[in-house]
């Protein structure tokens, strides 16, 4: 099972080039799409999820042309968008039944079984008879994943799922995802580096509409090993250091700036070597 994206391009009416010749090959398992806000992640996700048409290029799910054969793709698709609404006056159970019908699960007993199972799985069973208008953000997100899983999808698109969840909810969410990823292509997009670290076997970094790096996270980290150095400096010195070195990150620790640089050799000057993490990989790509 493979999702092949070839030279996908999209330019919006206001001139923004959201995707520029994006090519990816994604197979079974969890695939992470990492990139800053506005990189084109959501556009790509929406296009794969048959909600949007690209201007050029193709997407193939095995033999299915995703853009021209939307209907068969939707039968095996599960999509959790970044932002969505639900009808506030309906109960979770009722709406989940509604989505099951929309997905073609027309057999009543089948439907009941799957809805109940998913309600349990997402821990919404206790509140299944409550109106969705009263759900918190985390609960709504859980509902979202429940509806995405109704048809046991082989292509699961999850767009920035953990933005707005507290750490506990985030963990719970990942546990759930981990279970599902075994038999399907799961594409997870996010701008939180940790998400990828915890879940994905393959990843790509996308920036300004282009794929800048792709591969196995561990391998990518390996490539940077031994080249990352950091130093604690004064706030006023930051600008000067940025000119002198390839600064990939300037963050704070206990209120004082620490800069990290990439360097083939030890730069000295008070820099200490540190282990490369995915964060450095990420920042090194997007700060160029």
């Amino acid at each position: 099972m493979k999702l092949t994206i070839t030279d996908l391009s999209k330019t919006y009416d206001n001139g923004v080039q959201a995707l520029q010749n994006v090519s990816l090959e994604i197979s079974k398992g969890m695939f992470g799409l990492l990139g800053p806000n506005g990189a084109g992640k959501s556009t790509l996700m929406r296009t794969i999820a048959t909600l949007q048409d690209a201007d050029g290029g193709s997407i193939f799910l095995d033999d299915l042309d995703v853009q021209a054969q939307k209907h068969p793709v939707r039968k095996v698709l599960g999509y959790l968008p970044q932002q969505f609404g639900v009808y506030p006056k309906m109960t979770a159970e009722f709406l989940l039944h509604h989505f099951a019908v929309l997905k073609g699960i027309t057999n009543k007993s089948d439907r009941k079984e799957i809805v109940n199972a998913l309600l349990h799985k997402t821990n919404l069973y206790e509140v299944r008879k409550r109106k969705l208008g009263g759900f918190s953000g985390g609960m709504k997100q859980r509902f979202g994943i429940a509806q995405a899983l109704l048809n046991s999808p082989t292509l699961l698109i999850i767009d920035e799922p953990t933005a707005g969840l507290d750490p506990k909810e985030r963990n719970r969410f990942y546990n759930l995802l981990g279970e599902i990823a075994e038999d399907a292509i799961v594409i997870l997009s996010t701008h939180i580096v940790d998400d990828i670290k915890e879940l994905c076997t393959q990843m790509a970094i996308i920036n300004k509409g282009k794929v800048v790096l792709q591969g196995n996270p561990l391998q990518l980290i390996e490539q940077l090993n031994g080249k990352v150095y950091q130093k604690s400096i004064q706030r006023t010195e930051v600008a000067a250091y940025k000119k002198a070195y390839q600064v990939v990150n300037d963050k704070l620790f206990l209120g004082k700036p620490i800069i990290q640089i990439i360097s083939e050799e030890n730069p000295g000057n008070g820099f200490t070597a540190v282990e490369a993490t995915l964060e450095e990989v990420y920042f090194s790509q997007i700060n160029n």
Binding site: D53, H71, G104, D110, A117, G133, N175
Partner: protein
């Protein structure tokens, strides 16, 4: 600071398209405003741009556009909540005063700019060339501006205040939508207030206020009275402004910035702790089967329909509209089928008609709003990202929304039916006719709603947002109604076809039902095609322009869909062809224009022949075979034509009735004739007699006429030959010479074709018409001998004595013969009748008895006794005070309620189903109108048959006014004075109301066809006369009038060819009036 906010608000709104769209709509609508609001209502003597007319138009348009006011003023504060800017805005140091004032004034300014379209449009409209000069006053900008200020501005201020406050406090967009409707509903409620002053005061759109304001003036004076802030207008304005201010102050106080930022009630979050337990890690998620078969899609359709129906039923705004509607309807249903001030029994068809009329408005509102809500539902709440990624077919989804809305209509209709039944129960009437309730709503109204819903869906799909979609649908509605008035109304292209005809208990839906069903089916197929088109164009996924969606259509048309479209299209063409075959091939279809041209040519070609000397018909012998099941007949007849002129007659001109499927054949003249077909296109044939008809001589003319309708016509309105309740008169039969009824009657239309003005009645001294008793008088009296065959369940009745009745080959036959001559105006009815018989004699001695009969539809027994009493009492009175009754029988025959009159023929009175038969006469509070109308019709046997009036001005004084007098006297003899007074009160009310609308009011002596003069004023004035000079004297005058002028035997009539005029009649009145009252007589009848 408020100025900043004001500027922002103003700037923001000016940039939005709504402002311009609203302005454009108001402007364009106002150009046609006066014509639209006043269509069908006679303005009478007022000019089209008189201040009063301008004022009423402005008031009405403002009322109709209240929704606009609500949309403009309801959103300013709501917007901040909607776009979540309130959190940003309200932490700034702005005061409540600045914020509210700025928002309100900014939006109100824009509202004023939008509504400037109203006076501007009207001003432009008044300058348009289609208004004739004499209908207009000189153009005066001030009248428009002043009227706008007095009538519209206070309403706008009130509306603005109320809508601003409700929008701000409710924070719900749907409330904003619907509040315009609520105000309209209140307006309708005020209609139920009987106190006129209160009604005028509480009318938010000033319409009844203006009527009150105009009360003191005559129509001519009103042309010059400006609409000023005085009297009731002032009170009303102050009231509404005060109310508006109160509401604004209330809102101002209630509002607080923190209240805005908090969630509306009912949205508190669930306690999180409930949902904190650990999930079941080892629960396996089952795999469910995803199906896409046709059966699966049907299940989806069913489940989704349930889902959407439920979601609509949960909308509070829906219940608000529905309940409002039902309340309004029940309040207004209090008077049903009122005729002459008396209510009818709450028959099911009356109730249905009332409910239909009142509820239509609400159904349309629900249609407009909720079609938008449904189509945009998932996009509005941002749920479409989930829905559109599922494999649901767009057609399934859209169709289920359609079904849901139709379910809502059905629910509402069932509620209306229940209210109707409740009302009947409350009135003690138990014949519910549930089948009729069902057909009244589900057959008459539901298809229409369904079709417009499909159109609304289509407009929603092609629009960028819900709001534009509603607007387009509304425009579509209006265009459809407007094109009807321009003459474009063939069922094949007028969307939705036509309404079903009137329901009669005698004839049910008759022959109207089948064509109606065919045409509705045709349009339903079109509607389904529209639905498929909508499904293929609807947004899916991220929003794209309409153009892109059109280009992408071919990807969305799957093979099954293609197959469906092809089938539907074929069905559509098939139905269309069948309908076309019926309306245009089997029958002739004429557009309005074509018909007009025909009439014009008829007049141009044949008018010169109008007074061409012709013989008179002196005897008619007919063999009529009626086939009610086919609505056809075969007639074989013989006219005896006598030369009553001074010279021999060479030519006989025969005018066949101009109608399709009517054939006149085998016209044979005794002695032979050659045929001249030069006017064949007008069905006017000239027969040159081989031997001239000498003076005083007579010949016979045989003919055969068949009528056999085929298929159905576009204009299905023939109600004379129906399955049960056939009713027609001899105007269907061939007549002699030119018939001026075929002329174009409307004076504006005549002007277009340069035709001379046409008077309804000839001048009182017109020598040509003085010798006619009716237009185209073909006869001075004839004997009638007629055999009628009809189906075996039916009875046929006409003038004359029934000398024989038999059955032959499963059909009923009746042979009638008149004892002496009757006027050339007789009718034939045939229906399944029950009969009540009685006898009357003037006294016990020598005079023969008169056989009385009332032929009525089974179940309509309510007032038979009253009618019988009416017949007897009138025969007694008229025989005693005027002259003996001239026939041996008198019958009343019921005919279906397609027309609402009663009419007198020799010894026969056809009486409409809806006129006397179902009146619910309360002896305490009502005048016995069944009795009165009977007495009036019986009086016509004297005034109209014993004596005829010359066909000139004043004819109706003799016929109608004298009958009113007779009936009034009979009423007086049978009922206490207060009933008479009550009756006269009613006449006065009608007279006052009608004369204000009239363009002219002639005296009784010169009356033409002005009903309110010869019926209502006539009754009052004749009553006055007998009060003045005494009933005895009036009766004596009439007795002498009859003796002198009655047909054939009148002392004067037998010496002259002319018929009496009102002048002749007045001589008799004057002879009985003392000197000092002569002036009054003049005043009453000639002044």
């Amino acid at each position: 600071m408020w100025y900043e906010i004001f500027k922002f608000e103003l700037g923001y709104r000016i940039r939005r398209p709504e402002a311009y769209v609203f302005f454009a709509f108001l402007f364009l609508f106002s150009i046609m405003g006066v014509d639209f609001i006043f269509q069908g209502v006679e303005i009478g003597l007022m000019k089209k741009n008189a201040p009063m007319v301008i004022a009423k138009t402005m008031g009405a348009i403002t009322g109709l556009c209240m929704v606009m006011v609500s949309m403009v003023m309801g959103v300013p504060v709501l917007r901040d909540y909607q776009y979540n800017t309130e959190a940003l805005l309200f932490v700034n140091p702005i005061t409540k005063r600045d914020y509210l004032l700025g928002r309100f004034l900014g939006s109100f300014t824009v509202l004023l700019l939008i509504f400037s379209g109203l006076p501007l449009g009207m001003m432009l409209g008044s300058q348009m060339s289609w208004h004739p000069e004499e209908d207009m006053l000189a153009f005066n900008v001030l009248s428009y501006l002043q009227t706008f200020g007095v009538v519209v501005l206070p309403t706008l201020l009130f509306g603005a205040a109320v809508f601003f406050v409700t929008g701000m406090l409710s924070k719900k967009l749907l409330v904003v939508y619907t509040q315009g409707v609520v105000l309209f509903v209140i307006f309708l409620l005020t209609k139920a207030i009987t106190n006129e002053y209160l009604q005028g005061l509480l009318d938010p759109f000033s319409l009844t206020t203006l009527t009150q304001f105009a009360k003191g003036f005559t129509p001519v004076e009103l042309n010059n009275v400006p609409i000023s802030l005085t009297g009731i207008l002032l009170h009303s304005t102050l009231f509404w402004l005060a109310l508006g201010s109160l509401i604004f102050v209330y809102g101002y106080r209630r509002f607080s910035f923190s209240a805005l930022a908090s969630q509306p009630a009912g949205k508190t979050k669930i306690d999180l702790s409930v949902a904190e337990t650990a999930p079941l890690a080892d629960l396996k998620i089952p795999v469910a089967l995803v199906q896409d078969s046709f059966q699966a899609q049907c299940i989806q359709l069913l489940e989704l329909s349930k889902y959407y129906t439920l979601s609509l039923l949960k909308e509070t705004s829906f219940w608000a509209i529905a309940i409002c509607g039902i309340i309004i309807i029940l309040i207004n249903s209090v008077n049903l089928g009122t005729v002459f001030g008396v209510d009818s029994y709450p028959k099911t068809y009356f109730i249905i008609a009332e409910l239909q009329e009142m509820s239509m408005f609400f159904f349309i509102i629900i249609l407009l709003f909720y079609s938008g809500e449904l189509v945009w539902k998932e996009r509005d709440i941002q749920q479409y990202v989930l829905n559109d990624a599922t494999p649901i077919h767009d057609l399934t989804s859209l169709a289920s929304k359609f079904i849901a809305l139709v379910n809502i209509y059905i629910v509402l209709m069932l509620t209306l039916m229940l209210s109707g039944i409740a009302f009947q129960l409350y009135s003690g009437y138990y014949d519910f006719q549930l089948g009729l309730y069902c057909s009244g709503f589900f057959v008459e109204i539901l298809p229409y709603l369904m079709l417009y819903t499909l159109a609304a869906f289509f407009f929603q799909v092609v629009s960028k947002n819900k709001f534009i979609g509603i607007f387009l649908t509304l425009v579509f509605f209006i265009v459809n109604i407007a094109t009807e008035f321009l003459g474009f109304n063939h069922s094949l292209y007028k969307f939705g076809g036509k309404p079903l005809g009137v329901y009669s208990e005698m004839n049910g839906y008759g022959h109207f039902l089948a064509p109606y069903l065919w045409i509705k089916s045709y349009w339903m197929v079109f509607g389904l095609l529209l639905l498929v088109l909508s499904a293929v164009l609807i947004h899916r996924g991220t929003a794209t322009t309409l153009w892109r969606r059109i280009k992408g259509m071919r990807h969305r048309i799957t093979p099954p869909l293609r197959y469906t479209v092809v089938s539907l299209l074929s069905l559509f063409l098939l139905l269309g062809s069948y309908i076309f075959y019926n309306t245009n091939i089997l029958n002739t279809y004429w557009t309005n224009a074509q018909e007009q041209v025909f009439r014009v040519r008829y007049e141009q070609e044949l008018k010169p022949l109008e007074y061409f000397p012709q013989p008179k018909i002196t005897a008619v012998q007919l063999d009529l075979e009626l086939y009610p099941e086919e609505r056809s007949y075969i007639l074989e007849g013989t006219y005896t034509l006598t030369n009553t002129t001074d010279s021999p007659i060479q030519e006989v001109h025969i005018q066949k009735r101009i109608a399709s499927h009517l054939e006149l054949t085998d016209v044979v003249f005794e002695g032979g004739a050659t045929v001249d077909h030069r006017y064949a296109e007008f069905d006017y044939t000239i027969y040159q007699l081989l031997q001239p008809l000498e003076v005083g001589d007579f010949i016979r003319m045989d003919f055969k006429q068949t009528y056999y309708p085929k298929g159905f016509e576009e204009d299905n309105s023939d109600v004379q030959l129906v399955y049960n309740g056939t009713f027609f008169n001899n105007t269907l039969f061939p007549s002699l010479g030119y018939n001026n009824k075929y002329e174009l009657q409307d004076e504006d239309e005549r002007a277009v074709y340069d035709l001379p003005e046409r008077a309804d009645k000839a001048k009182i001294d017109n020598p040509n018409e003085l010798v006619n008793a009716r237009s185209g008088g073909d006869s001075d009296g004839l004997t009638l001998d007629i055999s009628i065959g009809t189906s075996k369940e039916q009875t046929a009745v006409t003038s004359g004595q029934l000398i024989k009745q038999w059955t032959d080959q499963d059909r009923n036959y009746f042979h009638y013969q008149t004892a002496g001559p009757i006027i050339n105006f007789y009718s034939i009815v045939s229906a399944e009748y029950e009969v009540q018989r009685d006898r009357w004699a003037f006294d016990d001695s020598t005079t023969e008895e008169v056989e009385l009969a009332i032929y009525y539809h089974e179940g309509h027994e309510y007032n038979i006794d009253r009618m019988m009493e009416g017949m007897k009492a009138s025969l007694s009175y008229y025989s005693e005070h005027f002259s003996p009754y001239q026939y041996q029988q008198l019958s009343i025959m019921e005919f279906p309620r397609y027309a609402s009159f009663a009419q007198s023929f020799p010894a026969a009175i056809p009486f409409s189903e809806s006129l006397g038969f179902v009146l619910d006469i309360d002896d305490e509070t009502d005048v016995d109108m069944a009795f009165f109308v009977t007495a009036h019709e019986v009086a016509h046997q004297w005034f109209g048959m014993q004596v005829e009036g010359a066909n000139v001005q004043g004819r109706n004084f003799i016929l109608e006014t004298l009958s009113q007098y007779g009936a009034l006297m009979v009423l007086k003899s049978a009922y206490p004075q207060e009933k008479v007074d009550q009756f006269l009160e009613l006449q006065k009310d009608i007279y006052e109301k009608e004369r204000r609308k009239a363009t002219s009011e002639p005296s009784l002596a010169l009356v033409e066809n002005e009903d309110f003069v010869h019926y209502n004023k006539g009754a009052i004035n004749m009553y006055r006369l007998q009060q003045l000079i005494g009933e005895e004297r009036v009766n004596r005058a009439l007795q002498r009038f009859i003796t002198d002028w009655r047909n054939y035997q009148g002392e004067i009539k037998s010496t002259t060819r002319r018929y009496p005029t009102s002048n002749d009649l007045l001589e008799y009145f004057r002879a009985e009036t003392p000197e000092d009252l002569q002036g009054v007589v003049f005043e009453l009848f000639e002044g």
